[in-house]
């Protein structure tokens, strides 16, 4: 648009250039004011980190020394878990943990629907929906029993995890679970999980 009494086109360009310079200058100044580091916080030593670093990863990183079998775990389970999860892990006030049927297929999808025909739905359990045995250890240690999380010893935790795996038909009653053997347990749900493929747009996923 022409403004007879206003600045010329060249004038506009100069103004725009000055404006850009100003914005850049402000940007640079703000940048310069943010230090590389603020120096807040205290360095955390290895010794300070260790008691907090309780997570267990699928490759076994984080598993403590100790061991336990399903036979030993039966006692631990009865004492600390059965009141909420049922005597055999069938569920109660808290979630069911055990379900061995149908073997080898998830509790949903075409194969399951074919198997189900007329039956009531089976619950999601360690046997059919947990992809890593190490996660069972991690979760029991961090969160169970709810009134005193972290109160089970490493041996008790290995034992009760072994009992849960055995009840679900994944390992034998005599199999010993420890930092070596637990990550090697292949869970039925191991290959079930896929990344999120939703990404907005028109398609309902």
């Amino acid at each position: 648009m022409k403004h007879p009494s206003g600045p010329t086109e060249a004038g506009h360009h100069v103004l725009a250039f000055v404006a850009v310079l100003a914005v850049v200058a402000i940007g640079v100044r703000a940048w310069a004011q943010t230090p590389e580091r603020f120096g807040f916080g205290e360095p955390a030593s290895r010794e300070a980190i260790a008691p907090l670093d309780i997570d267990v990863r699928p490759d076994g990183t984080g598993l403590p020394a100790g061991q336990g079998s399903a036979r030993e775990g039966e006692v631990v389970y009865a004492k600390h878990c059965a009141a909420c999860h049922g005597a055999k892990g069938e569920g109660g006030p808290a979630d069911p943990l055990v379900n061995a049927e149908p073997k080898g297929i998830p509790p949903f999808g075409p194969a399951y629907e074919q198997w189900r025909a007329g039956r009531t739905d089976v619950p999601f359990t360690i046997g059919n929906f947990w992809p890593y045995a190490t996660t069972v250890f991690d979760y029991v240690r961090r969160a169970m029993p709810p009134a005193a999380p972290g109160s089970l010893t490493p041996n008790e935790t290995y034992a009760v995890v072994a009992w849960l795996l055995a009840q679900n038909g994944i390992i034998g009653d005599d199999a010993v679970m420890n930092a070596e053997t637990l990550p090697k347990v292949v869970m039925p749900a191991r290959k079930m999980f896929v990344p999120d493929d939703r990404k907005g747009g028109r398609t309902v996923r």
């Binding site: 969160a143 999980f193 999120d196 309902v204």
Partner: protein, 401 residues
Amino acid sequence: MHKPPKVTRRAVLAGTLGAAAVTLRGRRAAAQRASDAPSPYGRLPNELGTRASQEQPKRLPSPTSSRTPLQDLYGTITPADLHFERHHGGVAAIDPRAFRLLLHGMVERPTTFTLDDLKRFPAVSRICFLECSGNLVRTGGEKTTAQALCGLTSQSEWTGVRLATLLREVGASPQASWFLAEGQDAAQMTRSIPLREVLDEALIVYAQNGEAIRPEQGYPARLLLPGFEGNASVKWLRRIELADQPFMTREETSRYTDPLAEGTARQFSFVMDARSIITSPSYPQTVQPGWIEIRGLAWSGRGRIARVEVSTDRGTTWKAAELQAPVLPKAHTRFRLLWRWDGRPTEILSRAIDETGYVQPEWPALLSARGRRTRYHLNPITGWTIGSDGQVLFGIERVKA
């Protein structure tokens, strides 16, 4: 478009005479005049305000959660004491003086930060919604309120420090691609979060709607991931560990994953898809024929709401509602549509469309995309039926299996 009814002088006269003739109305008018008297000299200023005694919106609690009374609220910010709750080990009691946040793993300088340390860093504020991924109750029957249906969504202005600021402080390794966020609650709630996906927006927040965050929202500090399912914004945050792969905790394997029709299960399904809900009129309201402003909320975890469409004829035709500015990304957005109800039974519905072009789906479309045993991220179009008597009820047919 309907025209407003004409007001004639005769109608006004008839109305006035009619009112005068009815003794009951006369008495009511006298009572109103008495109440027009000025209030006696009121109480003096005090330290802490309270709600009007006649206005007492409440959360709707269950053993694992409590729901925001969406139908009782007018704007987009949820009063902090009405923010929904979902805990995995109850409300943790953390002493703010003992609070420490540990950052470690793939970092050059493992560091613990006190609450004061966090507050010394440059602060940022962000208005966004938080929604639980399990936010649909289909089984309450026609006497379901908006709160009972989907009250596990709330919105606040959150203030804290950018995660990116802390990561720079501790010298995060460029190879780090995931981090574990861990809470100090009884469940020691843990989630693995993809670092690059959240780096621009992730905050460690210590304030909500201008004051310290509430105990049930993670006091003294929590992670905040705008647009993500609520449980990923780990409360009572104690530890962040950087790694080059996810940790596969219980909450991202056997929980908060989505079984699909083909027999696989979707994992790390963080983003909340677009959704809307008409909050008025809704059950248990009764409405009269004539002008009704349909009001509601819409939101999307993928960005801004682009449009909300409302149907007043059971989904046959749709009209664009007005959106209340400012429309913020990943935020509850108010929509309103003026409608003249003719008194005939109908159903009113709303559907949200976000800036990616995503259209809030019908329940059958969701079911066929995911299968019968889908559990989370259920955001179907829902609505309210209105009977000839004006009674508003939840439209149960929309979400029948």
